[in-house]
């Protein structure tokens, strides 16, 4: 079965190499994501390696850095789209604990809580304590900074941050940049990074070698997914311009509660599923609110993203998987 898949993919890759990257070809490839294929992006061309179902993930052996992205847990939400978001977050933790390569840490790309209430943050912290991953890093969603301009969010999740809660850190030679684009939103506008944060990004990466893999994570997508619904960041272009020198930039976002991917030169953009409820595809509904699916299908539209960096590859492999 795996051999058949490889043959099919080999053919597709041949076509891609002939055509270069075209959207349809890339989307066809992306349809395989979540079915047990690892895609890495090397030099702008997606390269796949099939890995066998089950425990023998030979591709992952020798993997240098493994972490997991979760997003949009919306603790406190209790409407029909998902009356028990704590249970689905627990299912996400169970999924994380079942990964063949235990992730070193988790990245939560925001909307941790639904209403910024202390008991909601507490509840998430409690559930995440059960994950094998030792550490967790967060960025806020707009639901995490309600009524107090993000003060309680920062006290809990961004103690050593600057400004509205941005910070950076390094893991095994990969440089992680945590950005906040959900503060000071203007009427009719999109996500915003702001001048102070942009200046900080510029300084933060100034002395890094261009061979350093970069991972940027922020809540609202840093590319224009669907501006009509506010799914974009008005000044993200400027932030990305400071990262032009780097050979590998991976952008991880949340907010839209569905997987979307885009490759632009050396930058791979990826948005994750929510662990709470799905939202409609761009323009497929009147508004981007919670989307109801039959109860037995809920877990199939929620999920996590497993991210692996293999030294020498200089690019990161992102594998999305659903909760059920």
């Amino acid at each position: 079965m795996a051999d058949q898949k490889l043959g099919f993919i080999g053919e597709k890759l041949q076509n891609l190499n002939k055509d270069g990257i075209d959207r349809r070809g890339f989307l066809e490839c992306m349809a395989w994501v979540g079915t047990g294929l690892v895609w890495t992006v090397s030099g702008g061309i997606p390269v796949s390696r099939a890995f066998a179902a089950g425990k023998d993930h030979t591709v992952m052996k020798g993997g240098e850095l493994s972490f997991v992205q979760i997003s949009d847990s919306h603790m406190g939400f209790n409407k029909p789209a998902n009356p028990d978001v704590a249970a689905t977050l627990q299912a996400a933790v169970d999924k994380i604990n079942g990964l063949a390569t235990a992730p070193e840490f988790m990245l939560h790309t925001g909307d941790i809580s639904h209403l910024s209430k202390p008991e909601q943050f507490d509840n998430v912290d409690q559930i995440l304590k059960g994950a094998k991953a030792k550490d967790a890093f967060f960025v806020p969603g707009e639901h995490d900074v309600l009524d107090d301009d993000g003060k309680s969010y920062r006290e809990r999740y961004a103690k050593n941050s600057q400004g509205d809660g941005w910070y950076s850190f390094d893991k095994k030679g990969v440089h992680f940049i945590a950005l906040v684009n959900v503060m000071n939103l203007k009427a009719g506008g999109l996500g915003t990074l702001g001048g102070e944060q942009l200046e900080w990004v510029k300084k933060d990466v100034k002395h890094l070698k261009s061979s350093t893999p970069i991972v940027v994570f922020a809540h609202i997508p840093l590319w224009s997914v669907y501006p009509e619904w506010g799914w974009g960041t008005q000044d993200s272009e400027q932030a990305l311009s400071y990262l032009k020198k780097f050979g590998s930039v991976t952008v991880l976002n949340g907010h839209i509660h569905q997987i979307m991917q885009k490759v632009e030169g050396n930058v791979t953009f990826h948005s994750a599923m929510s662990t709470a409820f799905p939202q409609p595809a761009p323009g497929k509904a009147d508004s981007p609110g919670p989307m109801k699916v039959p109860a037995e299908q809920l877990k199939s539209v929620l999920g996590i993203s497993d991210v692996n960096y293999m030294q020498g590859q200089h690019s990161l492999a992102v594998v999305d998987s659903t909760l059920g």
């Binding site: 309600l146 939103l185 009147d286």
Partner: protein, 114 residues
């Protein structure tokens, strides 16, 4: 004597109630009527509302997601309103008041006070 007393016991309170009701109606007539804005499907309905000076506008969130009501000029700002929660503001000065939801900034509305 007894009958006279009973009559006043019944009649006086009735008269008092009628007088109070009458004056309450008079007070209500002096006040401009309240106006309602419904928040649903990531939008304010009606998007533009026109009210007289002194009117109170009440926003009710009927959406399944929380929203806020925030004036673009800093005139009023609600706390987060979850489903079925309300926010009211009384407009004492004429003018045009643009507002939006600070959580979902694409949601905008206007109150015209004249």
């Amino acid at each position: 004597m007894k009958t006279k007393a009973r009559w006043t016991v019944v009649a006086l309170p009735m008269i008092a109630v009628l007088l109070l009701a009458g004056s309450a109606r008079l007070r209500a007539a002096d006040q401009p009527a309240g106006a309602e804005v419904k928040i649903d499907n990531f939008s304010f309905g009606p998007q533009t509302i026109t009210v007289p000076v002194g009117a109170t506008v009440t926003w009710t969130n009927r959406d399944d997601i929380p929203h806020t009501v925030v004036s673009t000029d800093g005139v009023f700002k609600s706390k987060v309103r979850d489903t079925d929660e309300k926010f009211s503001y009384t407009f004492t000065k004429a003018g045009t008041y643009s507002y939006f939801c600070s959580i979902h900034p694409k949601m905008t509305g206007k109150v015209v006070v004249q």
